[in-house]
Symmetry: C2
């Protein structure tokens, strides 16, 4: 019935069934029938009409006065929201991991905002596993294997993981020459790497190493700080240590061995349907990450 009321408002404003039908892309037969049905539903005649004449009844006038403003608002609101869905502007809610967002990807967010000034970015960073659906986010950046089949995803890149220690630690304990020598060292373990699946890049051999933890932490940034402070050896994503490696604050250990690659995904909860803003961000992230060698597993 609301559809028919909206049609009635259009008819009144154009003072013609045919004209309203034309502007709404409806055939005359449909217009006349729906108006007639509305009159039957409301149990009052709304319009006196003939081939040459058009006149509202008293009731028709009441209904027009009451509904015309509301219908206009609804249609304008629909247009506005539809426009927003299909253009890169307005609010965009994003979920992303803390460490990488304030680290290597911080310029990416900055560049996105610069390129799309009409988008109002609401960036929620967290190292916890927030529920994408309940958070009502448009899109999220995730690192590591994604198991939620309800979510759509696109892979953006890889992060290598390597073993590192500080120069001071290695001065005191000498760098190990084999995995078995790690047992003689102080190991810092993070939650995401409780078991080390290590690959020898020279021999192309893989081994699972179960570290005896000297220290267990649930934050990678904190772990890299502890490693810098000389507390031991850790398996860390290269994104968290590449600067320190370049500055000599950290050194690689067992350089032939690497940990598992950590995949980077864009994921979203809305199936194939992705609004233009989120799509723009997804593509922007994809471009940025694919043109950053370290985020493609290269170093």
């Amino acid at each position: 019935m609301l559809n028919d009321i909206a049609l009635f408002i259009h008819i009144v404003e154009q003072r013609s069934l045919a004209a309203a039908g034309k502007s709404l892309n409806l055939p005359p037969a449909t217009v006349t029938r729906r108006l007639k049905k509305l009159e039957e539903t409301l149990q009052c005649q709304l319009i006196h009409r003939s081939a040459r004449n058009f006149a509202l009844t008293a009731e028709g006038s009441s209904y027009y006065d009451a509904f015309s403003g509301l219908v206009k608002q609804i249609e304008e609101t629909a247009r506005h929201l539809n426009s927003e869905m299909h253009q890169v502007s307005g609010p965009l809610k994003v979920l992303a991991p803390t460490n990488i967002s304030i680290g290597i990807l911080q310029p990416m967010w900055s560049d996105f905002i610069k390129q799309y000034p009409e988008v109002h970015l609401n960036l929620q960073i967290s190292n916890g596993l927030e529920d994408i659906v309940l958070s009502q986010v448009d899109i999220a950046l995730r690192i590591g294997p994604q198991n939620d089949s309800a979510l759509y995803q696109k892979k953006l890149g890889n992060i290598a993981t390597i073993l590192v220690a500080s120069p001071g630690y290695l001065d005191r304990y000498a760098s190990p020459d084999s995995l078995s020598e790690l047992a003689n060292h102080q190991i810092i373990v993070t939650d995401i790497f409780s078991k080390w699946v290590l690959t020898n890049t020279q021999l192309n051999r893989q081994e699972d190493y179960y570290p005896n933890a000297h220290l267990i932490l649930n934050d990678i940034y904190l772990a890299s700080q502890m490693v810098q402070d000389g507390h031991g050896i850790a398996l860390l994503p290269i994104t968290e240590v590449y600067k320190e490696l370049n500055e000599g604050k950290l050194q690689r250990v067992l350089t032939d061995w690497q940990g598992p690659e950590r995949e980077i995904f864009a994921i979203w909860p809305t199936g194939k349907l992705l609004n233009a803003k989120a799509k723009a961000l997804r593509d922007f992230m994809s471009d940025y990450i694919s043109t950053t060698p370290i985020l493609q597993g290269k170093f």
Copy 2:
């Protein structure tokens, strides 16, 4: 689409497709399909749902925020107008002839307002033939034959027409004894009676008399005043002269002869569909007029 948006608002408020369907008397199949169709039309998912879970998407939240108030207003407005159509309250626009409304029927309007204090009467009186349709009136009172087949009507009564003159006039000219003697008299003609179709009630014979006008007027009240002032004989509705006859200010002429009866009708432009207010007035007028002997042609 507006119907589906309204359904979406109901679903969100009840956080359940099934509950919304139940309250709106729609089967689950219809609810799920219409929501799905809305999502396809809008090209965005609005709700994540399963048997046990309900969550809005970011877009769903935007659409709810934007539309919930508007949908409530539209539904409330529809209820309000529907209630008005079906109850005897609110505005009622009426068209009626001037002379009879300020004369014999004045107490009827007064009584109607007293009986229905919730009705806001807009009484437009006129002796012209106003266009019922263009005037956007709910109902009209009309006197005389009605030719407009587009209008619905109900006959309420009759008004007799008689020949009258003042005592002063009859002192000077002596009362005529036959129609042919009228030629020797001064005749006052009104527009509605340019040709006198007269019936002899004793002989049950009808004759057409073409008066030679001494004075022509387009208002019956003014005509009765001129008759009282002694300017001649006129054929007038009894409703305009019954008081003066009782007071002796006027006297009948050729008492065996009467003019044509003038029928009283209630007419309205909206076919079978008549709102409750107009229906109340129609029935009220019918009762009032049918219990007034002079308005049933009796005197």
